[in-house]
Symmetry: C2
Subunit: 493 residues, 2 copies
């Protein structure tokens, strides 16, 4: 199965692409830049969705659904928003096909031209705020806490499976509040929800930070983000939460009667994570043998493989496997028995390693005699003999799954620590970036000009201003001008 998976250390980019395809996660479709998310990949996404959705609901949000299409004029209503999105829009101009007169097939019917073109949503602020105008009259209608699970389209020139695709799946939260303070608190809360999800479920340590003005969402007053470190030393933005100020309320004239009898524009936020998280998950933990999945997001946590020569042996093993499965399922563990007789055990071992199943149990005739099992961990590629009499199997497996979840997180955390370097001069900056990559923690003079020059010279961008950074007087690593704290630079996906 894993034949042909390139080595991660030799060609990280090829390794990633091949892994995504060979592990049955996703593939390119016939439509430029659009992917097909295959059943195994989608089942991981479904687990992510379920946890995120639960967290959104626990923080008071409800789901709703808004139109796929946005009238062209809507997009232009918020000035910086249209600048940010107009360059990458799929535009619907017609609503009918017809048979070509020369019999060459179907063509667009020129008579079915739309009066106003429709944009396939790249994000839904405009269409949602145009709706909120009707939903919000008074302070009693606030806060409005809505989320949407949807597909969006951004016409990207260079695409990569999960990381950057023309169409992708995401959730976008859109909330409206009576006060600035409340909207800011929501922005922060949702960034923290994302961080908690990344750390607790994806086993992915993230830096909580703020974007610079240059990197801010088009139409926001402030953008918070979570940034993660991939195994090749490049950063990946894993989620963003935007404080929109009153920008969209003003663009769509959304006012409310205040408690005090006045009339004021509503304060807004929006926040999203996408199928990009799948890319982060894959790149953060996997190795030359394939995927490494944190147990909390693995569609199958344990696979049982029978090792046998004769049919009688198979029957006895199957009986034991069924017993074990019943016990594991009762304990909430998802387990699969791979009893296919068309493949040999070695092939199955490699396949389940490639697909990142956290634990593999092998049972052979001698195990039945001795009351043992072989348990193999995917993350460490270690094996152990387990005596069934020593402990209930469900306890053993549950404990191992917890240990794996924690261990994958620690490994990624230690890697990130190792890959975060304080640099204090421009030479050091360039040298570290070139030789090691990772996050460079450096003083910056706070100007967009310096930020851009550094980007032009090195391709490194300011990933974020960490929220927990300490005030510290220093001089900008590039311009030598004064700075009051460090920011994180990195090359990024």
């Amino acid at each position: 199965m894993s034949k042909g998976l390139p080595k991660r250390s030799e060609d990280y980019s090829l390794w990633y692409n091949e892994l995504v395809k060979k592990a049955d996660l996703a593939e390119n479709s016939a439509v430029r830049g659009c992917m097909v998310i295959k059943p195994y990949g989608y089942s991981i996404w479904e687990k992510m969705q379920a946890e995120l959705d639960r967290m959104f609901k626990e923080t008071g949000h409800s789901n709703a659904y808004f139109p796929l299409f946005i009238p062209k004029s809507f997009l232009s209503k918020e000035a910086s928003h249209v600048e940010g999105f107009a360059k990458e829009c799929a535009v619907v101009t017609h609503y009918r096909l017809k048979n070509a007169e020369d019999g060459s097939g179907v063509i667009v019917d020129p008579e079915a031209k739309l009066e106003e073109e429709l944009i396939v949503r790249p994000t839904s602020e405009t269409v949602i705020w145009s709706t909120y105008k009707n939903w919000i009259q008074s302070y009693r209608d606030l806060p409005l806490l809505v989320n949407q699970w949807a597909n969006v389209v951004r016409w990207e020139m260079r695409t990569r499976l999960f990381l950057r695709t023309t169409e992708f799946l995401w959730q976008e939260g859109h909330t409206a509040h009576a006060t600035k303070k409340e909207a800011e608190a929501e922005t922060l809360q949702m960034m923290n929800v994302y961080a908690q999800f990344a750390e607790d479920f994806m086993a992915l340590p993230v830096v909580r930070g703020r974007k610079t003005e240059t990197e801010r969402f088009a139409g926001a007053d402030d953008t918070l983000c979570i940034e993660a470190m991939m195994q090749d030393g490049k950063a990946l933005q894993a989620g963003t939460s935007h404080f929109l100020g009153q920008n969209f309320a003003k663009a769509f004239d959304v006012k409310f009667a205040t408690k005090e009898g006045g009339l004021d524009y509503v304060w807004g936020t929006s926040w999203g994570v996408s199928t990009r998280l799948m890319g982060a998950l894959i790149m953060a933990h996997s190795d030359d043998n394939g995927l490494v999945l944190p147990p909390k997001l693995a569609p199958i946590q344990v696979v049982i493989i029978p090792i046998y020569r004769k049919d009688e042996e198979f029957d006895a093993i199957t009986e034991k496997a069924n017993e074990i499965m019943t016990e594991l399922r009762k304990a909430g563990v998802s387990v699969k028995y791979d009893s296919r007789d068309t493949y040999k055990p070695g092939f199955k071992f490699a396949e389940h390693e490639l697909k990142g199943v956290p634990l593999r149990i092998a049972i052979g005739p001698r195990d039945l005699e001795n009351g043992t099992l072989e348990i193999a961990r995917r993350d460490t590629l270690t094996k152990e003999q387990f005596e069934l009499a020593s402990q209930p199997i469900s306890e053993k497996i549950t404990a191992m799954l917890e240990e794996i979840q924690a261990s994958i997180y620690s490994k990624a955390f230690n890697f990130r620590t190792e890959m975060t370097t304080e640099v204090n001069s421009w030479d050091e900056f360039k040298e570290q970036l070139e030789e090691k990559g990772g996050f460079l923690s450096a003083h910056w003079d706070g100007t967009a000009e310096t930020e851009e020059k550094i980007k032009d010279l090195t391709k490194a961008t300011i990933r974020c201003i960490p929220l927990d950074r300490k005030e510290e007087a220093g001089v900008c690593v590039f311009s030598g001008k004064p700075s009051n704290g460090r920011v994180l630079f990195a090359k990024a996906y």
Copy 2:
């Protein structure tokens, strides 16, 4: 709250439209024919999705995701398919906007024209079968049992919330099989899954049937369906399951190596239900006071309303309400305490009736003294006093919810029985259709010609050939030609 809801008996169509809006289910958006599904409406859809998804997985299907866009040439590959869908397609022709030179705003950039136009999927057979070509080589890859939850777009000229919208949400199953028999069994199985869902969860009795050739899905060899009767005597197609034969396999050249060493085209099915089910749910059970929801799909099953004058009374009632909620939630009942002090009880009663909450509990100071509660049923609009000492409240409520679920179904079942009439002459046909509507069970000569003439004259179509109809010699109600069984005619949504 319910002020302004028109009477169902006076203007069914207006009653439906107003109900959908006033009960916060959905509304029209700024984009022609596209709806906004509001949080309360979406929460009902989520419950439907959860149950259907569970049923699909229990029958062995996995979810996946395929592109929103379909290259124009793909749509034409299956001849009857393109005929069925070309007339109602949203067509993407460009991928960028730019600022107009005269400063009048943004315009479509003429230089960003696509080489081949993209169709926003009206259904995904073509893009999925073009993918299946790569997934299927051998009988070992079959059956392939995939489902997708997605949005689709059909450019409808006349739209109605939930029932017929330009964009709608649905699931589409697409399966591939090694034999005709297996694919036919799948087609039947999924139709039965839909019927079971409609009856057990939506409390909606359905006729399981087969479409005539005229009404068949464009590209299918056979279409099975479930048909329901609405309260105005019009039928509604609630779900379809298509046997595709080898049509799409041939169009996209999907062959597989058989067990016997040959090479054959794959057999296919597709099946779907959509947000149209929301329309069916609303129209089947609701009344002049608003929605009537079957408890199994109600986002809130029980609402508790405090009746009080003084603050001390409110505190004591709240304590009791909390006790009850804890017990009900433990029993798996979803319950909400409506403690808003900005609205009076009468207003709250009307609001929760409008929104179809199955049970309402009112608690006043006298109830606290007497150990009683008032429980009101939404479906029958009846009230009863309940003595808390007589029975655990969770048992009482659980039993009542079950009774309501069954009772709503019976009512709809009896209505449908009453609205199904055997007619044996053309005069009788016209008279029944005019005066009563409903399903007309009539002999038909089996020709598309007769079917079309009846449709032109009366607007009634053949909803289905019931799967359980008995063979019965007769003469066609219109042409007088021989027939071997009755079919169901009706006017339909």
